[in-house]
């Protein structure tokens, strides 16, 4: 079984069929909010070696552990500066609606207008934008499963989980085979 640190997630955009299976799998593993967005290809954290998101976070809420970039929810203020820093657009947001409890009446989040009317008009609920990102399926790794859910579920092989040596050798084999077949068919004079 591969250890957590050795693998990287590889995305083959030309293989993506846009089925959204990775989004569904991610949602199930992470309790409802997907850390993946399928545009033309799955977009999610690449776990950079020099991560800009860590650099910009003033709360130090993002940290690198075992080669994985993790967001610490307790420290995060949902300010969203990491969203601007990420070159891949891999940091996701989810808008949730939260009920305002009566004891929160005088809370600063209550709109100014309501306070002007002597506290008579209170919104019953407010919307909060939460920031979240891929955690490389830490929980699955702790449970002894090697591959993250998205790589395990991807039907077309667009998301792969390999270590770098394995990935580069398979890339070489792939190129070799394509060239070999093209060469053979050319020699037989059947190619157009």
């Amino acid at each position: 079984m591969q250890s957590m640190a050795s693998w990287k997630i590889f995305i083959n955009p030309e293989r993506c069929i846009g089925c959204h299976a990775c989004e569904m799998a991610c949602e199930q593993t992470h309790g409802g909010a997907s850390n993946i967005k399928v545009q033309c290809a799955p977009v999610f954290c690449r776990h950079c070696e020099v991560p800009p998101c860590i650099t910009v976070c003033y709360r130090n809420a993002i940290e690198m552990r075992n080669g994985k970039i993790l967001l610490i929810k307790d420290l995060c203020t949902n300010c969203g500066i990491c969203i601007f820093a990420c070159p891949f657009g891999a940091i996701m947001t989810t808008t949730i609606t939260r009920r305002i409890e009566p004891k929160e009446k005088a809370h600063r989040d209550v709109p100014l207008l309501s306070r002007l009317f002597g506290g008579k008009i209170f919104p019953k609920e407010r919307q909060i934008v939460l920031v979240h990102k891929c955690d490389g399926c830490v929980e699955r790794a702790e449970a002894g499963v090697a591959r993250p859910a998205c790589a395990a579920t991807c039907p077309s092989g667009a998301i792969e989980c390999k270590d770098i040596a394995q990935a580069s050798s398979s890339k070489r084999i792939r190129t070799y085979e394509v060239h070999l077949v093209t060469h053979l068919t050319h020699r037989e004079g059947t190619s157009l």
Partner: protein
């Protein structure tokens, strides 16, 4: 097993025919999650979005949990199982006495296990009714007929994973990237190894994006195209004459027919460049191993059987069959549609594809079941609806099907179902069809019962029981078994293992697929598996064909395909999308899937749209001879000019489709619909 607090049970995916396996995590008798099985041969543990929604489906709040009886005034009330089964049995007996056994129709299901289908068709036939059929009629009945006539057996010839070894893949009328997503993995692997991929489809789909060349044909011209490709192969002398001479018969007749074809004229009719046809012919014929992947784009036509036969002809012409990477891949749509067909849940076949008009073999089956003879001459799904309208069929027993959405011309189906004296529906949700039922019986889902399932590559796999059905819902086997007992057909309701043992005796190619062997094996066994020690056969016809003389035959169609070209303004193409499943009775209830495709949309080409003044999002009326439907337009160049696309997961679509049947396989010509469009002004 059930008492353990948290355990993983390996079950078969309930959706398409690929037969993926996954582990269901069960805690305190409730499904809480899934895990993947990277060592499973079909998909290496991959699951599409539908498979990932399994837990949501099992815990769905709208599940049927107790039997329901509809009173004369239309009100429903909860009844007990005893009451429900007794009522159904009495009513069935009474109808048999009054109108004869022919007056009862039975619809089996491609969603339930082999054992349940076997017992269901046995119940129908012992009851005396020949009318037992299921929805394989609506997808691959032409393949069964055409391929068994040409090759001897109507199933996929190679496993799905064997596509990886192909050097040329011809995809015709299949959108597997959306409907069987895991197939795309093997096709992409083949592409990475240098295979040439050709897609034939009237639409641009994720599947055609994989292909090197895409032949965007005019809808319904598949037959002409296949003939043109074969004519070109012959003309260039690329046919495999050794193979034709040693392993086939009937070639001369086909040759004479193909000689008359002018491919330039054909290319014009089909609407693709002549060069593409030539490239396809050369690539397919000259590659060391070529595969044909086809699906409902071939079968759901007026001449579906002839089109499917053309696919077989093409493989035989080039000898691309019976080897690794070379074969015919008709992809089946439901997790047990192959099994249900094998079990004889089809009007013209008894278990093991014994024709009901073959008196001698039929009586052998009858002997096994302990009676003298069995009825023959059954009606197909669509013909049953017609017979109800004619007043010939008075009662219908539906197991896990939703004919109102899946059958063509829904208005007629609805009218027919409301005319019945007795409609029993056995399902997991209150479907559109169940709304018409006199008695609705709550059934268990796949993970709530044990049984074997046969996937599209003929792999028979055992799916064990992972959890108990909710409330009073019962497994289909329990329901059929107890109903049979009340009808006096057998004394004890059988267990799945007992039935599989009977299947081993009744169907020769299931002979070695015993419960002991498959229950312990995750990979299952691939039929033909003739005896206890047989390892199963993954590639068919490597030595001989399953016909009497061991040779395949070219089935030459006498139909003039050109006559079927119509010049009505729009061809209506119906099809599927990635996140929905067949009649949508399951997937339209799951919010996590529904959000991706929430509504019915009509895809129309920008030029057509501007001509009619239709914009993206405007409401349009779609009119055919069968009905009118209001829908929202989506302007996109993914369809050809002159054709429009609608997914059939929504009840509206099949209000429009025609009821013409293929003369041989009796499949309705879903994909031949012609329509007119009107902008609806607000």
């Amino acid at each position: 097993m059930m008492e353990k607090k948290n355990n993983k049970v390996s079950v078969i995916c309930p959706y398409c025919g690929a037969g993926c396996r996954f582990e269901l995590i069960v805690e305190n008798g409730k499904a809480i999650g899934i895990d993947y099985e990277p060592d499973h041969p079909v998909a290496l543990g991959a699951l599409c979005p539908k498979g990932n929604s399994a837990v949501e489906l099992l815990n769905h709040p709208e599940r049927l949990t107790f039997p329901i009886m509809r009173e004369r005034n239309g009100k429903t009330r909860r009844i007990t199982w005893d009451e429900a089964l007794q009522f159904v049995a009495n009513k069935l007996r009474q109808i048999r006495e009054d109108f004869g056994p022919d007056a009862v129709g039975f619809l089996a299901s491609a969603k339930v296990s082999n054992e349940e289908n076997y017992l269901f068709q046995k119940l129908a036939r012992l009851f005396g009714s020949p009318h037992v059929d299921h929805c394989a009629r609506l997808c691959h009945s032409p393949s069964i007929v055409a391929l068994s006539r040409a090759l001897g057996s109507g199933a996929m010839t190679n496993p799905i994973s064997d596509l990886e070894n192909s050097r040329c893949i011809l995809i015709i009328g299949s959108n597997f990237s959306e409907n069987h997503p895991i197939v795309s993995r093997w096709v992409l692997n083949a592409k990475d190894r240098g295979a040439f991929i050709i897609a034939v489809d009237p639409r641009k789909t994720p599947t055609t994006e994989i292909a090197h060349i895409h032949l965007m044909i005019r809808p319904g011209t598949d037959g002409i195209l296949l003939n043109a490709i074969m004519a070109q192969i012959l003309r260039e002398g690329l046919a495999n004459y050794d193979f034709i001479a040693s392993r086939t018969e009937g070639f001369e007749h086909l040759k004479d027919k193909l000689r008359q074809i002018d491919i330039i004229k054909a290319a014009k009719q089909v609407g693709v460049p002549v060069g593409d046809i030539v490239i396809t012919a050369r690539k397919y014929a000259t590659s060391p191993s070529s595969a044909i992947v086809y699906c409902m784009g071939i079968t759901q036509h007026r001449y579906g059987t002839d089109y499917a036969a053309s696919c077989a002809n093409m493989a035989l012409l080039c000898g691309h069959i019976g080897r690794s990477g070379a074969g015919i891949f008709p992809l089946r749509g439901q997790n047990n549609v192959q099994g249900a067909s094998d079990m004889g849940a089809l009007a013209e076949f008894l278990p093991g594809y014994v024709r009901t008009d073959d008196v001698e073999k039929r009586q052998n089956v009858a002997k096994l079941w302990g009676c003298d003879d069995l009825p023959s001459g059954g009606l197909s799904v669509t013909e049953i609806i017609g017979a109800i309208l004619d007043g010939k069929i008075k009662a219908l027993f539906v197991m896990g099907e939703n004919p109102i959405v899946s059958d063509p011309c829904s208005a007629e189906t609805e009218k027919a179902l409301s005319m019945l004296d007795l409609l029993v529906v056995q399902d997991i949700f209150m479907t559109e069809t169940a709304n018409f039922a006199h008695v609705v019986l709550p059934a268990a889902m796949w993970a709530e019962k044990s049984g074997s399932y046969t996937n599209t590559e003929r792999r028979v796999q055992w799916s064990p029981k992972a959890l108990n059905p909710p409330n009073e819902a019962k497994s289909d086997l329990w329901i059929i078994g107890n109903l049979g007992k009340l009808l006096g057909l057998w004394e004890i309701p059988p267990q799945p293992e007992d039935i599989l043992r009977e299947i081993n005796l009744a169907i020769p190619f299931y002979g070695g697929i015993t419960p002991e062997r498959i229950a312990t094996s995750k990979e299952g066994l691939i039929w033909p598996c003739l005896d206890e020690n047989h390892p199963g056969t993954s590639i068919l016809y490597s030595e001989k064909f399953h016909r009497e003389n061991g040779r395949a035959t070219f089935v030459t169609s006498e139909v003039d395909f050109e006559a079927s070209i119509s010049h009505e303004p729009f061809s209506l193409i119906t099809g599927r999308v990635a996140v929905h499943y067949n009649s949508g009775s399951i997937t339209r209830k799951l919010p996590s899937l529904l959000r991706y495709t929430p509504n019915l949309e009509l895809t129309i080409h920008p030029s057509d749209a501007s001509e009619l003044g239709i914009k993206d999002g405007s409401t349009v009326l779609v009119k055919t001879a069968k009905g009118t439907v209001e829908t929202v337009a989506k302007v996109s160049s993914s369809v050809r000019q002159g054709s429009v696309f609608m997914p059939f997961h929504f009840p509206e679509t099949n209000r429009l489709t025609p009821k013409d049947l293929d003369p041989i396989a009796r499949i309705p010509s879903f994909k031949d619909a012609k329509c007119r469009l009107l902008r609806k002004d607000k």
